[in-house]
């Protein structure tokens, strides 16, 4: 009789496929995972605690560093929360700039996901194609805000910089280009037999599981729940655009893949309309006092980030700093289901499942 032994394996924090400093302690029997324990916190910077000593405008750069792949949405959620509390309404032009920036960020974020996911699965080229397009977006956002990743672009009551000359036209030209490239992505990857066999039916869960685990974003929509805050609880000016929410029924990695790629298409639709409706001129910042002191009380807002619902809770005691600030960071919540999904899978599927959740460690650790 051959005696087999379970092996304790540390995946991460320096493993190439954990997308940062995530660590998984797994017990494996051969290549089958018996138990998986995620260990997080390697990138914890205490954003929420730091925020308690900062004025509201000063917190904005910290939000950039949470989900660093789509920093614009993080900027927005904080500004939106403060605006809601203080009753500030941002001017139209600012809202359009915000939406364009956020949607560009969403596309960039999904492109990174697409590229790195394929890289995890072993295909090297898609990564470079995705980054070529992402580079264009990053350059556009760079022109807008002066930074490539940590934008620090939005302010309470508007945005910091107006769009430079010809920028809107650039966004306008980007939309058809991106559509064409998406077609190419589908031809290169989506129909590939090997890819399909790697992701179909892998890491699937039911609608009930998804809701119980508080998943959001594509992780929720892949199970057939049509829930997108841009549609269900429209914030900003999203009610002015005509777009769809991509939904799949299977709840596996393949469904999540499709949800994300289709979301890029929907974002392109929004961009197209936003560019068309873009106000010719107008202020980009509302009349806001130098030092913002929201009234005593609390507020919670939530918006749709590329990874799911990002929420911001502010408890204010009327001072210029928040009494308590809390972010609902979607990656952190989405990661919860991982141990359940990994049980009984093999090493190769570990990467496929972890990748399909689409976590950003800056956001998980906060």
């Amino acid at each position: 009789m051959i005696r087999t032994e379970e092996m304790l394996l540390n995946v991460g924090p320096q493993h190439p496929s954990t997308h940062g400093v995530f660590r998984l302690v797994i017990k494996i029997d051969g290549e089958i995972i018996k138990e998986a324990t995620p260990v997080i916190g390697y990138l914890h910077r205490g954003t929420e605690k730091l925020a308690e000593d900062l004025q509201y405008t000063q917190i904005i750069p910290y939000t950039d560093r949470m989900d660093y792949l789509a920093a614009m949405t993080n900027n927005y959620v904080l500004c939106h929360a403060v605006e809601t509390m203080a009753g500030i309404i941002a001017p139209d032009r600012a809202e359009y700039l915000r939406v364009i920036a956020m949607e560009l960020g969403r596309i960039a974020s999904h492109l990174v996901w697409w590229g790195t996911y394929l890289l995890d699965i072993g295909a090297t080229s898609p990564f470079l194609y995705a980054f070529r397009e992402r580079e264009m977006i990053i350059n556009m956002l760079n022109e807008l805000s002066g930074a490539r990743l940590t934008f620090n672009y939005m302010r309470v009551g508007g945005v910091k910089w107006d769009a430079p000359e010809g920028w809107i036209q650039k966004v306008h030209d980007f939309v058809p280009y991106m559509r064409e490239q998406l077609e190419g992505y589908h031809q290169l990857v989506t129909g590939n037999e090997i890819f399909m066999s790697r992701v179909k039916g892998i890491g699937s869960y039911t609608k009930e599981d998804a809701i119980n685990y508080s998943l959001s974003g594509a992780n929720l929509r892949c199970t057939g729940v049509k829930w997108d805050l841009r549609k269900n609880e429209p914030y900003s000016i999203y009610d002015r655009f005509d777009f769809d929410i991509p939904v799949r029924q299977d709840g596996d990695a393949w469904a999540r893949y499709h949800c994300r790629l289709e979301e890029i298409e929907e974002s392109l639709k929004i961009l197209e309309q936003a560019v068309e409706q873009f106000p010719q001129d107008g202020p980009i910042l509302a009349k806001v006092p130098k030092i913002i002191k929201p009234p005593k009380g609390e507020s919670f807002v939530r918006i749709e980030s590329p990874r799911g619902e990002i929420g911001c809770y502010i408890a204010s005691n009327g001072k210029k700093e928040p009494y308590r600030l809390k972010f609902r960071r979607p990656s952190f919540y989405n990661l919860q289901i991982l141990p359940k999904l990994l049980k009984g899978e093999n090493m190769a599927n570990l990467i496929t499942i972890l990748g399909a959740i689409d976590i950003v460690l800056g956001e998980v650790d906060g």
């Binding site: 394996l9 090297t124 080229s125 470079l128 590939n192 066999s197 790697r198 190769a348 570990l350 990467i351």
Partner: protein, 335 residues
């Protein structure tokens, strides 16, 4: 010439000539590895819209690989404390030596071949199998969990794919009636075996990519899962030996594909004035390009899918190919 030398009585002169030729071949192979790696990086760069290496040695980075090898030579050679020391040291050699041994049997042109053996094809397949032992040894001796997983995968994969590889060439052996690689090339004077044995060619190509541990079958190294697989603990020149053997195998396998299916050194019709060596190099480069192309395009298979594909698809197809080939050969010889 070599044949005469082999048959003449042994002497110092013969030994000298043989050693000289061996050194020549070594330089050809090392030259290939040097520029094979460079061309792979350049072609991959081209396909992935990058520039690729362009600094060391002019615009085409002609000295890039040389610089890389030099760097590897002067790197510290680390051996983990818990490793099985003797095995750890010998594993790269076991993996590396057969890669060069197989080259002896390959007829590059009608004149340039070292050992014109009656069992050339069998020799190639048998000797190349030894490399697996080196890889498993490396995985075991490193005493690293990732390396062990990589080594086990390598063993499973290489054994499973050796069988369809062998089976796919049986059709050619049936048609030629010989295992001698020279005679196999001679038999393709009028028509290449890729035309007569298309199914075998596809099976052979897939199995050979798996044998070479290249994408989409690079599971033993699976960078994103096992970090680097069996050679994760190796550094410096020991690591380079694994890489070198991999590229020498690429050279050998591309040569073998050329010999078995693409008519070896035989020219295309009406182009006989181009020397045989050039023809061989052309066809060989084509195969190499194909291998790089495959690497750039595909994602990786999963271990269990790989096994399934090898045993349930490739092997039956190869067996069917043997059966049909034998049947047709018998039918044609009746009339």
């Amino acid at each position: 010439m070599i044949q005469e030398l082999l048959q003449s009585s042994p002497g110092l002169l013969n030994l000298g000539i043989f050693s000289l030729l061996a050194v020549l071949l070594l330089f050809v192979v090392l030259g290939f590895v040097t520029y094979g790696i460079l061309s792979e990086r350049k072609v991959m760069g081209f396909m992935q819209m990058r520039i690729g290496p362009n600094q060391v040695g002019g615009r085409w980075a002609l000295l890039q690989t040389v610089a890389d090898v030099l760097k590897l030579l002067i790197k510290e050679d680390t051996i983990p404390k818990v490793a099985d020391r003797p095995l750890y040291i010998i594993a790269p050699v076991i993996a590396f030596a057969p890669a060069f041994m197989v080259l002896a049997a390959l007829p590059f042109t009608d004149k340039f071949q070292f050992a014109d053996m009656g069992i050339g094809l069998l020799y190639y397949i048998a000797v190349s199998g030894i490399t697996t032992v080196g890889i498993v040894t490396a995985g075991w001796a490193s005493n690293n969990k990732y390396a062990l997983l990589g080594g086990m995968r390598a063993a499973a994969q290489m054994i499973s794919y050796e069988i369809p590889l062998v089976m796919s060439v049986v059709g050619i052996v049936l048609l030629t009636g010989s295992l001698n690689l020279n005679e196999i090339v001679e038999a393709q004077k009028n028509i290449w075996y890729i035309v007569l044995q298309p199914v075998a060619f596809i099976v052979f190509l897939i199995a050979s990519v798996a044998e070479l541990n290249r994408v989409p079958f690079d599971l033993p190294e699976a960078e994103s899962e096992l970090v680097a697989g069996y050679h994760v603990e190796y550094s410096g020149f020991r690591w380079a030996m694994f890489m070198l053997s991999e590229y020498v195998y690429m050279f050998a396998m591309a040569s073998l594909t050329t010999i078995l299916f693409l008519g070896g050194w035989h020219p295309l019709p009406f182009l006989g004035f181009i020397p045989a060596a050039v023809w061989f190099a052309l066809k060989f480069s084509l195969v190499i390009y194909l291998l790089i192309w495959i690497r750039v395009t595909f994602p990786r298979l999963r271990a269990d899918q790989l096994m399934e594909f090898g045993w349930k698809v490739l092997l039956p197809v190869a067996l069917a190919n043997i059966f049909v080939t034998a049947l047709l050969k018998e039918l044609f010889s009746m009339f």
